[in-house]
Amino acid sequence: MDFMFLVFAALAVIGGLVMAFHHSIVHSAFALVGALFGIAGLYWTLGADFLGALQLLLYVGGVTVLLLFGVMLTTRDSARISTFRYMLMAPVVGMLAYFMLNTLRGVYAVVSELGVDAAEAAPTTERIGEAFLDPDVFLLPFEVAAVLLLLVLIGAVTVARRGSSDEGAA
């Protein structure tokens, strides 16, 4: 079981690293896919089966495809990495990492004695469904989300379309 965890964690971290530092945007994109896959795995190890599946479908399936389309539609020129920028950013990122860990130490004190109740490991899909359709639990966010998606759909279409219509006008 630990093995699974280590594999997935490694996959996620390595994917993230490659994404962050590879010079080719395509590689980075696929690395991101890897990272996301790893995270999906971690969900499983956490017993969130539905969420994991969704993660696969939505990210690995959808978002990354979107990203790749974006990559194709735009030029690749500015994928190169400016070392100066690294010089600049290294300390920042370093400090950030340091303080993340520093915080973790504080967190650890809180959560270390939290135990795991095995009951939680049961399949979650049905309960999630009920929770989303239950008015006094998550119905409202659900609906809002639906509306939001609709807006996003329209918005995205408009934003993208305007460009073409401009070209038509120009």
Binding site: M4, G16, V63, G70, R85, A97, I128, V152, V159
Partner: protein, 134 residues
């Protein structure tokens, strides 16, 4: 000055301390990573930093998007992890679901915008799209 240095070195100490504690407490030491919250937290932290690093270092808008995604996922991982180790029921997962959905939406709009930027500026180099500069 010394105190500052000590505090700076604190994380390392903490790792050491943890190892010692593991050694001291068998039950904890016996506990596998899967049952240890901090393991997940460390992973999500690393991912978060990587996302930020991506955003900060890359000038390509798509990279920024990817970085964002990574940060979001790191956050999601936290949600789920805490949901599992504290007895918070399903709320964490549900919140994660909402975030995923939001992320998808954000991705859609963001890509549209990126295309727009590309159309307007002829490139998606964010250093050139400094319309906000006074």
């Amino acid at each position: 000055m010394l105190a500052t240095l000590k505090s700076l070195a604190a994380p390392l100490n903490s790792a050491v301390v943890q190892v010692e504690e593991v050694a001291a407490d068998a039950s904890v030491a016996a506990a596998p990573f899967v049952e240890r919250l901090d393991a997940y937290l460390v992973v999500s932290g690393i991912l978060f930093v990587l996302g930020v690093a991506t955003i900060l270092t890359r000038r390509n808008a798509l990279y920024v998007l990817m970085g964002t995604e990574l940060i979001l996922n790191a956050a999601n991982l936290n949600f789920v992890a805490f949901a599992r180790f504290g007895d918070y029921g399903l709320d964490g997962q549900l919140m994660a679901l909402v975030v995923v959905m939001l992320a998808a939406a954000e991705m859609a709009v963001a890509l549209a915008i990126v295309l727009r930027i590309f159309h307007d500026f002829g490139s998606i180099d964010l250093t050139r799209t400094d319309g906000l500069r006074d």
